[in-house]
């Protein structure tokens, strides 16, 4: 039974994708309903996985040869991420029923989305490194194809290709690590690898560890690979909510958490992870505070929140990081879908052209404010509890300077959260346009996510027991919800953090009086306009690559004689090498 359910969780979305594609674009209403039906079915079936949590493979297919075995392991870490992918995926599809109404080529849209959902479930449940890599690349492809969904828009195509190239860099790191592990172990099984890390030479283990860190940083849009995520915002908003906030970008964090017991002994690895998280959290928060594009603001805040999770893994807070991942998936999907409803209604992403939408879009305003409270980490939302757990882990096990840096990040988070809400909903109206009403499908998705944002912290106990029970190498302690809540509420650092958030919020209201300070920060503003020089770095890399390509192109004359000369030359060199070495 467990076998059937775990396979259906992957195959139902994929089958649905095929069906929607086969229906054809001349029946858009049928496509909407079919896509929603299949994704909801997949979401419901994924919930049944909760009954079969275990740390041994339930599906094992021996491919043979160098490919090893394809296994699916429903352990706690994988199952909850699979549920996030399937459930939030189905909500995003339902939301699309309104959002994408009247768009052309819905077949491509929905089938890629369903392909993505299945691949994401496969990624987190796969017990084999090689097949994890395969699913990893499928998600990267879907991400690329959906960012460039409006493929007549040069900006969308640019963003898609940028995302593809940058996540490929990470894919190379993952493949390198997987192959090195196979070379030494003769098996791709993740659990074998974690159990046998003592047998690896230190250097090889370090290569795997840092290869995976590169993979995680590229996939989760962490410094220095973060620049693809803001440009990925050209995607339709449900895609941004699903792929670039709730699921795919978490794959990197998942990878780090999964392999944490194996890489913890590698010297410098935890420090590197912590630093990457800290830099991402801080820099992205500053960038979010300076942009006027609603979706880009949310994208930067996603990078920042993913930075918190990576930081938590660097300070051994696996449970805290995963709990924050759960909270973040729910509230960030809510924020993105809320932003989607706003963008759909007013037809612009520029926050300066919005304002006073609080009256005309009361429902969206309420759920958006709930999401923002969770983002800022204010009670009693899921973001409050999970962020406190992250910071507590940072204070207990991490360096003090890093904790201080994270607190600054918390303050800036408060600042940009209130700025976003005020600009969009409660400023004087800057536009006389009458917003479109919010559709029923949109309201359903938003309501479910808003309730989730308010309530998922109640799952802290079962979630902890689930992770502790099925991850033997992570040495997690099961805790009850009451323990977690009491721990958070009685800890003085919690209230320091809340004060810091309120300080950040008050900065927004006092910004008129702080004109001198703002003026002093002008150089910082110039720096943020160029994304701290990372965009410049990207452009330089592209320029150098192009120049090298142009130079090397001269060797491709298209002349037969020259090509034969190349073949013979290479043959001679190889023969000389063989004679010389042998």
């Amino acid at each position: 039974m467990a076998e059937l359910i775990i396979i259906l969780t992957i195959l139902i979305p994929w089958f649905g994708g095929l069906v929607v594609w086969a229906v054809g674009d001349q029946h858009p209403n049928l496509q909407h309903r079919l896509a929603a039906g299949f994704s909801v079915l997949g979401g419901i079936i994924s919930l049944f996985l909760l009954m079969y949590i275990q740390d041994v493979p339930v599906v094992r297919v021996d491919i043979g040869g160098v490919f090893g075995s394809f296994t699916l392991v429903p352990d706690g870490l994988g199952v909850y991420l699979a549920i996030i992918a399937a459930v939030i995926g189905s909500l995003a599809v339902i939301f699309s029923n309104n959002y994408m109404k009247g768009e052309a080529q819905l077949g491509r849209y929905y089938s890629l989305m369903l392909l993505f959902i299945g691949a994401m479930v496969g990624l987190v449940l796969s017990g084999s490194l090689l097949f994890m890599f395969v699913f990893w690349e499928i998600t990267a492809f879907c991400s690329y194809a959906l960012i460039s969904f409006h493929n007549d828009d040069p900006k969308a195509v640019y963003g898609g290709i940028k995302a593809l190239i940058m996540t490929q860099i990470g894919g190379v790191g993952l493949l390198l690590g997987a192959l090195a592990a196979y070379a030494y172990l003769g098996s791709y099984q993740i659990n074998d690898f974690i159990a046998n890390t003592a047998e690896f030479p230190t250097g090889v283990l370090a290569v795997i560890a840092f290869g995976f860190l590169v993979a995680a940083a590229a996939k989760s849009a962490q410094v220095p690979f973060h620049t693809w995520l803001p440009d990925a915002m050209e995607a339709p908003t449900p895609i941004s909510a699903l792929i670039h906030a709730a699921t795919m970008v978490n794959a990197g964090v998942y990878l780090l958490a999964r392999f944490f017991p194996a890489f913890e002994p590698v010297s410098g690895w935890t420090i590197a992870v912590m630093t990457v998280g800290l830099l991402s959290a801080l820099m992205a928060a500053i960038l979010a505070a300076g942009t006027y594009d609603l979706k880009r603001t949310l994208a930067y805040s996603t990078i920042s929140q993913l930075g918190y999770m990576v930081y938590a893994i660097g300070v051994s807070g696996i449970y805290a990081s995963q709990f924050h991942l759960l909270s973040h998936s729910v509230f960030k999907a809510l924020l993105f879908l809320g932003a989607g409803a706003v963008i759909h209604a007013v037809g612009t992403r520029n926050m300066r052209e919005m304002g006073a939408l609080g009256k005309s879009m009361r429902f969206v305003a309420i759920v958006f404010v709930i999401g923002t409270l969770a983002l800022a980490g204010l009670p009693v939302t899921n973001g409050f509890f999970s962020k406190e757990l992250v910071l507590e882990a940072g204070l207990n096990h991490g360096a003090a300077w890093a904790y201080a840096g994270m607190l600054i990040g918390v303050a800036i988070t408060g600042y940009y959260s209130i700025r976003m809400v005020r600009l969009v909903f409660f400023n004087p109206a800057n536009s006389s346009k009458q917003p479109h009403p919010t559709g029923l499908a949109m309201r359903i998705s938003l309501a479910v996510l808003a309730v989730g944002t308010l309530l998922t912290w109640l799952l802290a106990g079962p979630f902890s027991r689930m992770l502790a029970g099925s991850l033997p190498y992570h040495r997690l302690e099961p805790e009850s919800t009451l323990d977690v809540v009491l721990e958070v509420l009685t800890n003085p650092t919690t209230w320091i953090t809340v004060l810091v958030v309120l300080f950040g919020i008050s900065l927004w209201f006092l910004r008129g009086r702080l004109a001198g300070l703002i003026h002093a920060l002008q150089p910082l503003n110039r720096l943020t306009n160029q994304d701290f020089g990372f965009e410049w770095l990207n452009r330089q890399i592209i320029r150098i690559t192009n120049r090298v390509a142009t130079t090397l192109r001269k060797t491709q004359t298209g002349q037969l004689n020259w090509n034969v000369f190349g073949i013979v030359g290479a043959l001679v060199i190889l023969l000389i090498l063989i004679v010389w070495i042998g």
């Binding site: 298209g558 002349q559 037969l560 004689n561 034969v564 000369f565 073949i567 013979v568």
Partner: protein
């Protein structure tokens, strides 16, 4: 000097290979290129026959080679036919002047 049949065949393979590659390397005339290509293929065929003899499966190797000769003849025929057409249409057989197909 005691030369076995294998050694002689191996020298033949290497010699044909060298002649074929040399022909491809220096010739600009399309017909000479086809001739060079054919010599190169014959080197490979001789190599297969030799390998069959060494492995003790001469019949398998020979039947494979016969098949390849048939296929290869078709390649040569089509090549020559195209060359004839090129000569008729463009008036030259020099590859460096035939840049019209260059993408």
């Amino acid at each position: 000097m005691n030369l076995s049949i294998e050694t002689i065949a191996l020298v033949g393979v290497i010699g044909l290979l060298g002649v074929g590659l040399y022909g491809l390397l220096i010739s600009r005339n399309l017909i000479k290129i086809v001739v060079g290509l054919q010599i190169l293929v014959k080197a490979a065929l001789l190599g297969i026959v030799l390998a069959g003899k060494i492995n003790g499966q001469p019949l398998l190797a020979q039947s494979m080679v016969i098949t390849i000769i048939v296929a290869d003849t078709i390649v040569a025929v089509i090549g020559i036919a195209m060359i004839v057409q090129i000569r008729r249409q463009l008036g030259t057989l020099d590859v460096s002047e035939l840049s019209k197909l260059k993408g």
